[in-house]
Symmetry: C2
């Protein structure tokens, strides 16, 4: 049986080969021993060049001639610094190189160990991307990550303007791989470098060949507006239901379903293929669900491409959604008749209008208020609540800071959104609200119309739904109650303040015109959260 390092390095080598690396240039040393032996075993096209500076310029020459990325493999220390001149040249002339540097493990860094220099990001902006992978970590996700991400990286090196990329591999002794064992087969990732028309036509041909032709569209968060006419046309033509993230801003424009609904779909309604647009969904369960159900995912877009931490989208079209959908509509593609209708029928039952005001009913109640047209959602529990239950039947611009998912700066961003003179609603927990009190000053100063709904459960609610909920010191370390006097905050920033407890009070607020800054407090109970989310967050 292979050891863990061997398996992972085999995946790394195969991932390079999958994306067009045929030639490896190795400058041997102790630290890159396992790669050296495995490259020889795999019988790759291999040149051994003892002088690393020469090796890198040699690789450059091969890549210039073949127009293919060439891989370099160095041992640790100054060896890697000898690559720098050729990497600079490759960066300036747009030559794809995959620079693999081996390194000492973490316990030998900055402590006087021999042949150890800082190798992380050492080529600075001369490489298009830097990746460090600990191939000796025995977690299966690492192996799958290598298979996925190394292919992305090698592909990136070839995307215009092409250029070098670096992979740094800290390796701990013993450095001998297991030789003579079988090599895995790894999934080929396909990156559409074809035109919108050809991509659409090939996808149409594929869909038309499916036995059941059940196509699902998944729309993630986006910073651009989705092209509504094209989406509508394609969804109709394919009879495809649309699962839309709350931050897609599409829910009020088209008939859509929530990620939460997808997770509960009966087997006969499961899609055969998914076309995925936009960024990482708010729902943490959506992408893993698609993967666990082995439903093929095609990713389309010019911004979020390759951003798939589920590592399941094996075809990625680097095309604008609008171009692609326009071309897809022009094909003879057809989906299963009534597939969309069967979804609608399945989820048909009417939910009664909530009669109490809680963190969970707030999204449902606001969805029914046509005056709510612009909405900013704070992390972390708020945006998830809304993703689950906010399905308006009128257009709503919905935004949130869902790139890095911080709770900092939320109010300021909502004020920025409100600067367009559209009355804006911000729904925010007390912790995120406290974090960016100064954002209220901007609201006051810019005279925007902003309603801040503070869902106050006196602390960090989301932690009650995470594994540490039962840990010692929970309240002190995670609950972090701030005993925030929301009314006093309102006074400080000259905002109108109101605490509401009933649906009627909320309805009054949503139906009465308002200008300026107001803060609405809804007190909820953090200790009840675990009961309200028996299955955790979706």
């Amino acid at each position: 049986m292979s050891n863990n390092m061997t398996t992972n390095l085999k995946h790394l080598i195969l991932a390079c080969q999958n994306q067009g690396v045929t030639h490896f240039v190795l400058s041997p040393g102790s630290r890159n021993t396992p790669l050296a032996l495995l490259l020889a075993e795999q019988k790759v096209d291999l040149t051994v060049a003892v002088d690393e500076r020469s090796a890198a310029f040699f690789a450059l020459g091969i890549a210039k001639q073949t127009k293919q990325p060439v891989a370099l493999v160095a041992t640790s220390g100054t060896a890697t610094a000898n690559y720098a001149p050729a990497i600079a040249e490759a960066h300036s002339f747009h030559v794809p190189l995959v620079v693999i540097t081996t390194d000492r493990p973490q316990e030998l860094q900055e402590i006087g160990a021999p042949q150890t220099i800082p190798q992380r990001g050492m080529y600075t902006t001369n490489v298009k991307q830097f990746l460090e992978i600990n191939v000796q970590e025995p977690h299966p996700d690492v192996t799958e990550y290598i298979e996925y991400q190394v292919q992305q990286l090698v592909h990136l090196s070839q995307l215009a303007p092409s250029g070098p990329v670096q992979i740094n591999l800290p390796l701990r002794k013993p450095l001998l791989p297991t030789l003579g064992t079988s090599w895995p087969s790894i999934a080929l990732q396909t990156f559409g470098r074809i035109s919108s028309r050809l991509a659409a036509e090939s996808l149409a041909a594929l869909i038309n060949r499916l036995i059941h032709r059940k196509v699902l569209l998944v729309l993630g968060p986006t910073n651009q507006a989705y092209p509504m006419p094209q989406l509508r046309t394609v969804a109709n033509q394919l009879q495809a239901p649309i699962v839309a993230d709350v931050l897609s801003s599409v829910r009020g424009e088209l008939s859509t379903f929530t990620p939460h609904q997808l997770l509960t779909i009966p087997p006969e309604l499961e899609p055969d293929i998914v076309l995925r647009f936009g960024g990482t969904p708010v729902s943490g369960k959506l992408l893993p669900w698609l993967k666990n159900h082995h439903i093929p995912v095609m990713q389309v877009g010019d911004a979020y491409l390759g951003q798939d931490h589920s590592r399941w989208a094996h075809v990625s079209y680097n095309l604008s959604a609008q171009d692609f959908l326009t071309q897809l509509a022009a094909t003879n593609v057809s989906g299963q008749p009534n597939y969309q209708q069967r979804w609608q029928h399945h989820f048909n039952q009417q939910h009664p209008v909530p009669t109490t005001l809680t963190a969970q009913t707030l999204p449902v109640l606001l969805a029914q208020a046509p005056q709510v047209q612009q909405l900013f959602l704070a992390n972390s529990l708020t945006v998830r609540n809304f993703d689950q239950a906010f399905v308006p039947h009128h257009p709503v611009q919905v935004a949130g800071n869902r790139g890095a998912n911080g709770i900092d700066g939320t109010t300021s961003s909502a004020v920025g959104m409100a600067l367009n003179h559209v009355p804006t609603w911000l729904v925010i927990g007390d912790l995120a609200f406290f974090h960016d009190l100064n954002g209220l000053q901007l609201a006051r100063q810019t005279h925007v119309s902003l309603t801040v709904v503070v869902v106050n459960n006196d602390g960090g609610g989301i932690f009650s739904l995470l594994p540490q909920a039962q840990a010692p010191h929970f309240e002190h370390l995670f609950g972090t109650p701030q005993e925030l006097n929301v009314a006093a905050v309102a006074t400080l920033f000259a905002a109108h303040y109101q605490r509401i407890t009933t649906v009627a009070e909320l309805n009054h607020l949503t139906t009465t015109p308002w200008t300026g800054l107001r803060i609405i407090e809804v007190q909820t109970n953090r200790t009840e959260l675990a009961q309200e989310y028996p299955e955790g967050l979706s």
Copy 2:
């Protein structure tokens, strides 16, 4: 009259506005005083936000809503570090931000000055590009650079995937700008974000409206192969002469002219418009010539876009050359009849075949040797000599390390090129040859067929053509004679060696089949260079 800082900051503000920045968010301090006052004078849409963290998240909100880049302006020190969280969010969610940080001047760095922290590249890979501009330097190129490069940068922030960029501005007291003076008008740079078809059609319409319709194609170095059929078709349709860089590898495929010839063209043959493809030409005079003659340049390409240090290409189409040319050929565009022919007629005179072997005649002689099919050219003098005089009438793959233009690693790169089993010629000066002796080991080891022509003038020839040629200590500092025993090098690396002095000897070499490694020495005289290049390098 405006002071220099004022002029440059006005250009910076206007450049931002030209590329879509309408809103500026300022967090005041001492160091950003001049920007603050000028932004107010220009009456931009300005928000003053005293808390920088809040300011940055606010700008993020505006950009999310408007889908336009928003500019941030901070004073120096920890103020700039407060932008970091929102910049990280903008990077992850692809939101365009133009982050302008003001800084202390160089003499206050790392010396205990107040409010001074390392601001260069402080946002690491969370920004798409970092630029530092000293706006107080009184050189006119700086002003023009700001006008050009800031527009490039703001455009870059909006290219998919969009994201933040940083401009750091070191400023020295006094910090008061000159107010109440007129604002310059700056050239709008146009970045084609349209399809190949529309770009081609609009260009065709423009050309067809020109009085004289004299169109010139300029092909720079490239790491991709130029699309010959499309080039041929378009050149014929437009009756456009082609000026081809030696590293375009096109000279032997199509009838082309050299950059050197363009520089000597009579006024009546000057083009009305230039379509420029590929990277920075080897000739240092080509782009300045186009600029000095006020000939509009349209740049086309998906790799080298914006790489125009002449700052003269005001329209840049981010399209592949092949797509663009295909679409252009499909239009009804037509150039001046016989324009190509008039160039051919002008340069018609036959040059006699050289009868002596020198550094200058070597390119001419090798151009007439059909067996020379793959050629690597070293920096610096060699590639320039060849750019001027190497015009083969048969296809030749020509390569050189012309991204960062180093003399290091040349032989290794040539060996990499030769790995495709095509006999390869490397022409190299003695200094570059010495620099990468170890590359010869790779040639020996990989059994490539490589002819290394060492043009040995015992030192750095190009310096004799640069201003320091008359400086004291020239020979010691720039001439750097190495007294290299080329024959001994050949012995060391088991290469065949021959020193040649005549054209007949060279002709014998180019017409006799050869396998393996050989080193041919051509001794030349460095002290005669100034006479051989009376007008300097072209």
